[in-house]
Amino acid sequence: MSTREIEHVGLSHSMKRRKQITNAAIYVTLSLLCIFWLLPIAWLVLSSLRGETKEMYTSYIIPKQFTLWNYTSLFTDTKLFSFPRWYLNTLLVAVCSCAITTFLTLMVAYTYSRLRFKWRKRFMNISLVLGMFPGFMSMIAIYHFLKAIGLNQSLVALIIVYSGGAALGYYVAKGFFDTVPKALDEAASIDGLTRNGIFWKIILPTSMPIVAYTALTAFIAPWVDFIFVSVIMKDNYANYTVARGLYMMIDREHMSEYYTRFCAGAVLVAIPITALFIKMQKYYVSGVTGGAVKG
């Protein structure tokens, strides 16, 4: 016993030194990586505050003059690009598609998780197969369909596009519902609650995190997507969303004049999304790895 203790002390002494060296190396590596990772973001924020607005690129990172003009002019100078209008468009689309998507997703997730019926497995398999087609493919057809009924280039079309696939994105919510104990349902059922009652009064209140997660992801989508908007809106600038509008600000034509304002707009979009994401990252992780991690 005693010999082992002595051995242990001697071992841990040399190990301690080695450990200190490795830890120091890790701190240095992590710091370097952090700088490397945060540099573009720092550059974005600094450019958005840059007073030298006429120059697109500067060879220095820290601006010579700080200003908030880039931010204010986004909202005051609306001659060519109407940022406030885009902002309101995005807000409207995000709120509507968030409401629709959340409802559809939770309905489907609850059904697949709790109710057993003849076509359940078949529906889930069909969903899986449909999800394997590239999104653009259906996009093109939807565009032609909306055009045929005269809805193209409208915000309604955009809401339809963002919430149309809601029934396919049930996996995370279903995974969550699966973990809610079935005993709750049974108890409620004995108390005379219908399945409708169980859904609204038992399952939803106990699953608030997943309701919030579903709503937030649906809310964020219109803020960060620029592809579907491009396809649906074509050149109808007035109905652009923030992402598509900002994307236009740095095309070849406008980049030199609008670069710093693009940075300001990007910061305005990124701040709320970053905040939401950091808050919700726990659910995000469990959603993606849910199928892979055991027990």
Partner: protein, 469 residues
């Protein structure tokens, strides 16, 4: 199983009646034993319900039948009748003798014919289901009548929609949106792959028609330019997907190991630093990075100012360098993501494995290769395949960084960093070559389906196999 649950509350009634839901009589059986009204129900929907006193239910069946017939007569047939040819009357100038000048005469629109035909044919599915239910409910009503049981009122039937048949209530709306905005569009686009709907056949000016497998033959064999583009882009798509997946996976895991190592402080701060880059929308961060590495971007300008280089380095405009750059920049996007995903799993690796390795004097590298990596591969196998599939379709990174460029003269409308999915996007949005794009979409589907099947089987084997040891 499902029958039991569906009818459990009807149990008392069900047991008294032979051949109800629980026995699942076949359709023929229902017709044969449902009395004359069931036969009539197959022609006049809801007839059986009607004569058995379920007036509202019967009327609803009838109304839906009338609705469908009206829809087919006034709308559907007008398109479906031209489905085989996709229209024969082309828009063109016709001499109008009355005025003495040429007039633009409207022609048929192949696109609308196909679109609405798909829609009309798809409505046969709900029609069939309603027809089937009409017969079934007539049969059940007949059986109840024979057994002398009171027919359930309409109100009672509706109430079951909130309980026993609650799945119908919940699923109806999602199913409608799924059909209209996902399933039908995909069927339409799959059909397009077998037509010649390209830039030179744009409705309403021109008609397009069925061409069978021509598009696929062109891509695989006949058209040298298509064949060249497809081969090149497919190869690069796979190279890209492999490199993007492996680099992100390994480096993300190493990063997670570093942050979570015992004795490293401020774990949460380090993690947040990296996570911020995921949270910033990709169109912002990637656009920014692509501008940084542009020929006149800040990186080249800075290097010039320091007199390190004279001519700008063609980070994103030289084919080989651009390919390397997108993989590297993709690490910037993806490594924090893997770090976030793997952190939790790394914590679950049994600590005694490392302890005994430490006592044996194994180096950190050796521990990573012999303990961490095998364990992680075992647990995250399906996630790895899903990521690989995601990278095959990684539109954002490629499109925002290089837009697929630099343009390759040997390719059809594509560049050296284009993936199949960005090529598809260009073909549709920039070129309107829908037929080619749809064919490529189907090929992407086949690839994705194959790998997903692999992932699915992997998950299955993980579930069956008990423990990692």
């Amino acid at each position: 199983m499902s029958a039991n649950i569906n009818t459990s509350a009807q149990g008392k009634r069900a047991r008294k009646i032979p051949h109800t839901d629980e026995h699942r009589p076949k359709f023929i059986h229902q017709l044969a034993n449902g009395g004359a009204e069931t036969w009539l129900s197959a022609i006049i929907f809801g007839f059986g319900s009607f004569v058995n006193g379920q007036i509202i239910k019967g009327l609803l069946y009838l109304a839906s039948e009338v609705g469908f017939i009206l829809f087919y007569l006034t709308f559907g047939w007008g398109y479906v009748k031209d489905l085989l040819t996709l229209g024969t009357v082309q828009q063109g100038w016709v001499f109008n003798e009355a005025i003495g000048i040429d007039e633009l005469a409207a022609g048929q629109n192949s696109m609308l014919i196909l679109l609405y035909s798909v829609l009309t044919i798809a409505t046969l599915v709900p029609l069939f289901m309603i027809w089937r239910n009409s017969v079934k409910s007539s049969y059940l009503a007949h059986e109840r009548k024979l057994a002398g049981i009171k027919q359930p009122t309409f109100l009672k039937d509706v109430k079951t929609l909130l309980d026993l048949r609650y799945h119908m209530t919940l699923m109806s709306l999602p199913l409608i949106t799924l059909t209209l905005f996902t399933a039908l569009p995909i069927i339409f686009m799959v059909a397009i792959a077998f037509t010649n709907f390209d830039a030179t056949h744009q409705p309403p000016g021109k008609l397009f028609t069925w061409v069978g497998l021509t598009n696929f033959r062109n891509i695989f064999f006949d058209n040298p330019k298509y064949k060249n583009s497809f081969g090149g882009i497919l190869t690069w798509t796979f190279i890209w997907a492999i490199f993007a997946t492996v680099t992100n996976y390994l480096l993300g895991m190493i990063l997670a190991l570093m942050i979570n190592k015992q004795g490293i402080k401020l774990k949460k701060l380090w993690r947040t630093c990296f996570v911020i880059t995921i949270a910033v929308p990709q169109f912002v961060s990637l656009m920014l990075v692509s501008r940084m590495f542009a020929d006149t971007g800040i990186v080249n300008e800075t290097l010039k100012n320091w007199n390190w280089i004279k001519d700008p380095i063609k980070f994103l405009t030289d084919p080989t360098l651009a390919r390397i750059m997108v993989v590297i920049i993709n690490m910037w996007v993806g490594v924090p993501y893997t770090m976030l995903m793997t952190t939790g799993i790394l914590m679950n690796i049994p600590a005694d494995l490392y302890e005994s390795a430490n006592i044996d004097g194994a180096t950190a590298y050796r521990q990573f290769v012999s303990i961490t990596l095998p364990y992680m591969l075992f647990v995250t196998g399906p996630y790895l395949i899903t990521t690989f599939v995601g990278n095959i379709n990684n539109f954002n990174v490629i499109y925002l960084l290089t837009s697929g460029g630099p343009l390759n003269q040997n390719y059809y409308q594509a560049g050296d960093t284009d993936l199949l999915v960005t090529w598809l996007y260009k073909l549709t949005v920039d070129r309107s070559d829908y037929n080619l794009a749809s064919a490529i979409g189907i090929i992407i589907f086949v690839i994705v389906a194959a790998f997903s099947l692999l992932a699915y089987n992997f998950t299955g084997s993980v579930k069956k196999e008990d423990q990692f040891s």
